[in-house]
Point group: C2
Chain length 193, copies 2
Amino acid sequence: MAKKVKTNKRQVILEEAAKLFKAKGFSGTSMRDLGSQVGMEAASMYNHISSKDDILESICFHVSNTYISQLREIEQLPVSYVDKLKALIQLHVRLMIEDGAAVSVANNDWKYLSDDKLQQFKEARKAYEKGFAELIEQGIAAGEFQPMNVSVALFTILSAVRWVELWYRPGRGISAEELEENIMTILLNGLAK
Amino acid sequence: MAKKVKTNKRQVILEEAAKLFKAKGFSGTSMRDLGSQVGMEAASMYNHISSKDDILESICFHVSNTYISQLREIEQLPVSYVDKLKALIQLHVRLMIEDGAAVSVANNDWKYLSDDKLQQFKEARKAYEKGFAELIEQGIAAGEFQPMNVSVALFTILSAVRWVELWYRPGRGISAEELEENIMTILLNGLAK
C-alpha cells in the first residue's frame, strides 16, 4: 500500500513536471516551481524522485520506450504493410494526444539529458527511425507503397504529425479518432481523391 | 553602379546573417560575429544595414512576402485544385531548398521582431495559412479532395515539409526535384499504392 501511494505520487510529480517543462523549458523550471505546482515541499518531493535529471530521464524514456514497444508489436503483426504503417502512425499520434506534454519534453528537452542517458536516448530514437524506415522499405519492396526515397517518406511522415502535440486539446472541435483518421488518410491515401 | 554594389553588399550581409542566425540563433549572434563572417568592420556594415533588427526584419519579410506572392499567383491560375495545391507545396518546399537559412530564421527567430513588425509578421503568416486553407476547402467542396477537417489537412501539410529546411543539402543523394516529387506524392496521392 505504502509502495503504491509512493508510485502514484511519483507519477503525479512526473506529469506536472512534464507540463511545466513544456511551458517553461527544462532549464527554466526550478524544483521550487514544481513543488508549488504539485503542492509539496521540495524536500518531500525527494522521497519520490532523486533529482530534476531523474525526472527528465523518466519522461524521455517513457516516451521512447512506448514508441519502441509499439513498433516491435506492430512488426510482428500478420497484416499488410499498409495496415502496419496505419497502426504505427495511429499509435504515434495517439501518444501525442494522450500524453502531449511528455512527448513535447522528449522532443525538445532531451538535449539536457546527462551524458550516457543522452547517448541512450539518441540510440533509442535512431532504433525507432530505423524500424519505421524498414517498414516503409519492405512495403515498397512488396509493391504496397509507391516507390520513393525511404528517408524522404520517413521524415515526411514523422514531421507531418509533429504539430499535433502543439495543437491538439479537447475543444478543438475534432475528436482524437477523427484527427488520427484524417492524418492517416492524407499520409496513406493522399489528400486528392 | 555604386547603388548596385551597395545592394549586393547588403545582400551578402543578409545571407551570411541568415546562416549565422540559423546556427547560433538571433540572440546568440553579435554584429562582431557577422562582421568577421563577411570580412567587414562592424562600422562599415552600417553603410549597408541599420541594425541587427533591420537584418532580422529583412530576412523574415523576404520569406513571408515570397510565400504570400507565390500563393496569390497560384490562386489566379486556371487549373484544378489538385494542381494548385501541387504548385503551392512545390514552391513552399523549393524556398526551403534554395533559401534554407532564411526560412529557418523566419520559422524560429521571428519572435525577436520588434513590436509592430512582430504583429505584421504574424498577420502575414495568418494570411498565408488562411489562403492555403481556403484552397483546401474549395478543393474539398469541388470534390477534388477527400472530405476532412481543413485545419488538420493544413497543419499536416505545413508540418510535413518542415524537416526539409533542417535536412536538405546537396550530397544527400537526392535531387531537389526528386525530393519535391516524393513529398507531393505522399501528400496528394498517399504512400499506399
